[in-house]
């Protein structure tokens, strides 16, 4: 056992770091015990870090890391399968380059898990995957599929315009989404009833089954309020869970989003809008949504900003009314829940993976840095004997 006594532990429910001990089981790669009243077990290796703050590994639930490779050019770009508007059958897990150098940067910024989403070029972009940022590729997958990426608004229209197909209009985008989901529902009913003539296994239709079953959410890229309403309508019609991505105009629909428990994944506020639909984006979006009772995650949208800057994006929200506790949750517990991996990571808790960051101060302070990063109990960043 490895016991770390820290000047501050970042724990769920605590409004600020509290002194305490975290005990790691290195064989299982999990947290054995953690809390302000935990004592170092007899016989364990004890490290005292009075000045340090130990928190959970950060989670970026909307990233394109590994799909758009750092310096990879055209051959390293697998973000979108742009040849048609409906691609539920494609999987981010098949496009991720596990060796993208951006993963090392993510780790160096304390990010230990990411949700990799196909891009926004299609109405249905494909299946997301949740992975650790370091380790042997086969051991990194936390959940697949972890969501179905969809997009409304300007981008799928733009791609279709270049291609010369649909959707040329916003109404066609919604119709196409509904058509694809209807296909999945018909297929699921056929599969469930059985006894038909031997059928074809249709991977595009099959991909909708975990969405329709409620196992994974729709992850809907939508900027304008009208598009958000249209997405909410589709989700209600099919009885599926939904997460809103980007959504700068979501405060207009705050009551409905809160009532229907629709989380919102906010962009970092470090880049300037490049499209008309982005104009409403403001730095106070996370705080506004939290005050309305909506679960908020903050993402880098890597490569919009670099994967390692996740906490900088969350830290910025403090200037615009977000509480420290809510900002921490937006890059740990909430994204873990959105990805469906909160049972194994996303907070310091007994039994979860020891995905841990030792910080030299407040994780949300722009000026601090990780001293050491652990994934599944293995030190992957910082100090002698680290993985690199």
């Amino acid at each position: 056992m490895l016991a770390l006594r820290a000047g501050g532990l970042v724990l769920p429910g605590y409004p600020a770091p509290v002194p305490g001990v975290i005990v790691v089981d290195p064989d299982r790669g999990t947290v054995a015990e953690v809390g302000p009243d935990v004592r170092e077990p007899a016989g364990s290796e004890v490290i005292v870090l009075e000045e340090a703050v130990i928190g959970p590994g950060l989670i970026d639930c909307h990233s394109h890391i590994g799909l758009v490779e750092m310096g990879g050019g055209d051959m390293g770009d697998d973000l979108n399968e742009l040849t048609g508007p409906l691609m539920p059958q494609v999987r981010a897990i098949d496009g991720v380059n596990w060796y993208d150098p951006a993963f090392e940067r993510a780790v160096s910024g304390g990010v230990t898990a990411v949700g990799v989403l196909p891009g926004p070029g299609n109405v249905v972009g494909g299946q997301a995957v949740a992975i650790h940022t370091w380790g042997r590729p086969g051991e990194r997958v936390l959940k697949h599929p972890a969501g179905m990426k969809c997009a409304l608004g300007e981008l799928p229209k733009r791609a279709a315009g270049r291609r010369g197909g649909s959707p040329q209009t916003k109404m066609a985008a919604v119709a196409l989404l509904r058509q694809s989901m209807c296909g999945g529902r018909e297929y699921a009913r056929g599969t469930a009833s059985g006894g038909r003539a031997p059928g074809r296994r249709d991977l595009a239709a099959e991909a909708w089954i975990p969405v329709l079953n409620g196992d994974i959410p729709l992850r809907v890229h939508a900027y304008r309020a009208a598009e958000i309403e249209q997405a909410l309508g589709v989700a209600r019609e099919f009885g599926v869970r939904m997460v809103l991505e980007h959504a700068p105009e979501s405060p207009r629909l705050a009551d409905e989003l809160a009532e229907r428990n629709v989380p919102v994944v906010c962009n970092p506020y470090f880049t300037s809008p490049s499209r008309r639909e982005q104009m409403a984006a403001g730095p106070d979006l996370p705080a506004l949504l939290v005050s309305a009772g909506i679960a908020v995650a903050i993402s880098t949208n890597h490569p919009e900003i670099s994967a390692w800057s996740l906490r900088h994006a969350a830290g910025t929200s403090l200037r615009y009314g977000m509480s420290w506790r809510d900002a921490i949750a937006a890059i740990t517990e909430t994204p873990a829940r959105i990805l469906g991996i909160n049972g194994v990571t996303g907070s310091l808790a007994a039994g979860k993976y020891a995905d841990i960051v030792v910080w030299d101060g407040d994780p949300l302070d722009w000026r601090t840095k990780p001293l050491a990063v652990f994934i599944r109990g293995r030190r992957v960043w910082g100090g002698a004997g680290s993985a690199r």
Binding site: L82, D94, P137, P198
Partner: protein, 390 residues
Amino acid sequence: MILIRGGRVLTVARGTLEDADVLVDGNRIAAVGPHLDAPDDAEVIDARGKWVMPGLIDCHTHLGLDEEGNWDDTNELNEMGDPVTPHLRAVDGFCPQDAAVAQAVAAGVTAAVVTTGSIQVLSGQAAAVKLIPGASLDEALVRSPVGIKGGLGENPKKHYGKLGKYPTSRMGVAACLRQAFADAVSYRGGWRPEAARDGEWDPAAKAESLQPLLDNAVPWRVHAHRADDILTALRIASEFGIKVVIEHGTEAPLVARELAAAGAPVVLGPLGLTAPMKQESCFPTLGGLDRLREEGVLFSFTTDHPVLSLASLPAVAACAIRAGLPEEDALKAVTLDAARILGIPERLGSLEAGKDADIAIATGSPFDYRTVVETVLVNGTLVVRPSRPS
């Protein structure tokens, strides 16, 4: 009968025998050992002072498809209009009169796998052929199919990306492939697709051609350079319970453990002699051969003919020796291990009684550029004879 007398016999399967004989009866090896008895009328080849070894095998070439002198501007490898054509057979495009056959056999290469290309997701069926100058197609053919060929990574991305035609991304390539395999499974379960529309290939023919893959009778032979592409191949092969051989495998050393766990062989190359011209082929594979050996990954080397000429196969393997591979392992890689990868080890790849009499007799190590290959037998027939008195 032919008696090859008194040579240094590199059996590959059972070590090296000094001053030993090889007896050939018809198209097979009858015996290997010291001082063999032979009938009086047996033809005797004096191999004293010479090295006697199994003919070399390249298990990934485009021989006879992209013919020597005619491959730069033409394409005989990929029927690219449709990304999935597993029903097309390399043997139907194979020209046994390719000038490269005579050059390669003169260098001691006696067998090759002829594969379709890697631009398509699934391009066709690979065939194993013998290198016999002047032979007919029938005489040259050993077996077809010996694998179903396809491509991951930059080739399909680049080609279909330019056309804006599915699939253009790694995600799309994998999805396209998975649906083709799923169709083969559905077909096996009784699903019968509608007839092909005009200008399209028959989906039933495609599904039927993939049945040997589902039976594990032949492997999926997949072009994959990058580690993530290799892992995608292993993932999909495991989903469908099919055998897979990784072709090129530039970054294979990074995932040696995963390859070993999956029991997937790798056909490495072309190594050492070519300049990497794609992003996916830049990793220094030769520096990682030890990783593959430590994990017990089965591997061979390829010229990818006509990328390098088939006759340069020993030079490619020699690059691996320079990088630290023991010479006997290099020879095994391009003989017996190649035969295991292409699936006919009971006939090819070593000097043992009962195997095909594909034999090269040379003045020294096959990996020494000063060595002259003087005599070559294929199927027990002399196809290369000494050009000067030996």
